[in-house]
Amino acid sequence: MMERARALVAQATGLQPDSVADTASSTSLDAWDSLAHMRLVLALEEQLGRTLTGEEIFALHSVAAVHELLG
């Protein structure tokens, strides 16, 4: 269920998808820094076909949050 979310986080952080757990977050993954976050936002906006709001970008700090946003 979380595969898409994990894949997007992995792509943004440059990690292998298998190393991104369902429970991963920006505090558990060192590679999830501000630049990775920008890449993640761009990837999500492309997937969703819309720009994210500031509140959504702020709340996007875990694989679970990415999954929820993807719907």
């Binding site: 920006s26 500031g54 702020f58």
Partner: protein, 189 residues
């Protein structure tokens, strides 16, 4: 750390030094940042065409009593990489923070989190403030990430959006209280 209002501030982090800027720091390097559209993309700046004189004037506007302009310098080579500004109100105990990382080589390296932590220690400690606030364009993902990572609270948005990247973007407001910062520091220790 002891500090007397009006004294120059110098703060140390593992990789950076933050210190009060003087007019001598109005260098071509600093000026080049202000003319770099990518660096200035998310900066709220009233002045559009900065000069050395306008930079000196901006430095002078920070009196070191309630308004601070601290340069961020890399320990490795002493190079000036960015600035923090903090404008406080001694009566309310609240300061507005701004940041500019002009040296793109230091983007994505955690400089804001590291340097701002030292700045908050100073503002909530020797400077005696109770709360600090910041505003950010709602499409500035890197800054939003840094606010979240450091435990800032999102307070809301300004009533009117602003133009950024050719479109209207909401401006979001953040704050950090002294109480929450000190609790966070105790938890980190």
């Amino acid at each position: 750390m002891t500090w007397t209002p009006g004294e120059a501030v110098q703060l140390e982090t593992p990789r950076y030094r933050l210190r009060t800027l003087t007019e001598a720091d109005a260098t071509d390097r600093y000026l080049s940042w202000l003319h770099d559209a990518e660096v200035m993309r998310y900066v709220f700046s009233r002045v559009q065409d900065h000069t050395r004189d306008s930079v000196r004037e901006y430095i002078r506007q920070h009196d070191g009593l309630t308004a601070f302009l601290l340069g961020i310098f890399d320990h490795a080579d002493g190079i000036h990489v960015g600035n923090f500004s903090a404008r406080g109100d001694p009566i309310s105990g609240v300061a507005q923070l701004g940041v500019l990382i002009g040296d793109r080589r230091h983007w994505g390296r955690g400089v804001v989190l590291e340097a701002r932590a030292a700045l908050l220690d100073f503002l909530f400690g020797p400077a005696g403030l109770q709360r600090v606030e910041g505003v950010v364009y709602g499409n500035h993902a890197a800054s939003l990430f840094n606010y979240q990572a450091q435990g800032w609270r999102m307070d809301g948005r300004l009533p009117e959006p602003a133009m950024c990247d050719g479109r209207e973007v909401e401006i979001l407001q953040f704050s950090m209280s002294r109480e929450n910062w000190l609790a966070r520091r105790r938890a980190d220790a």
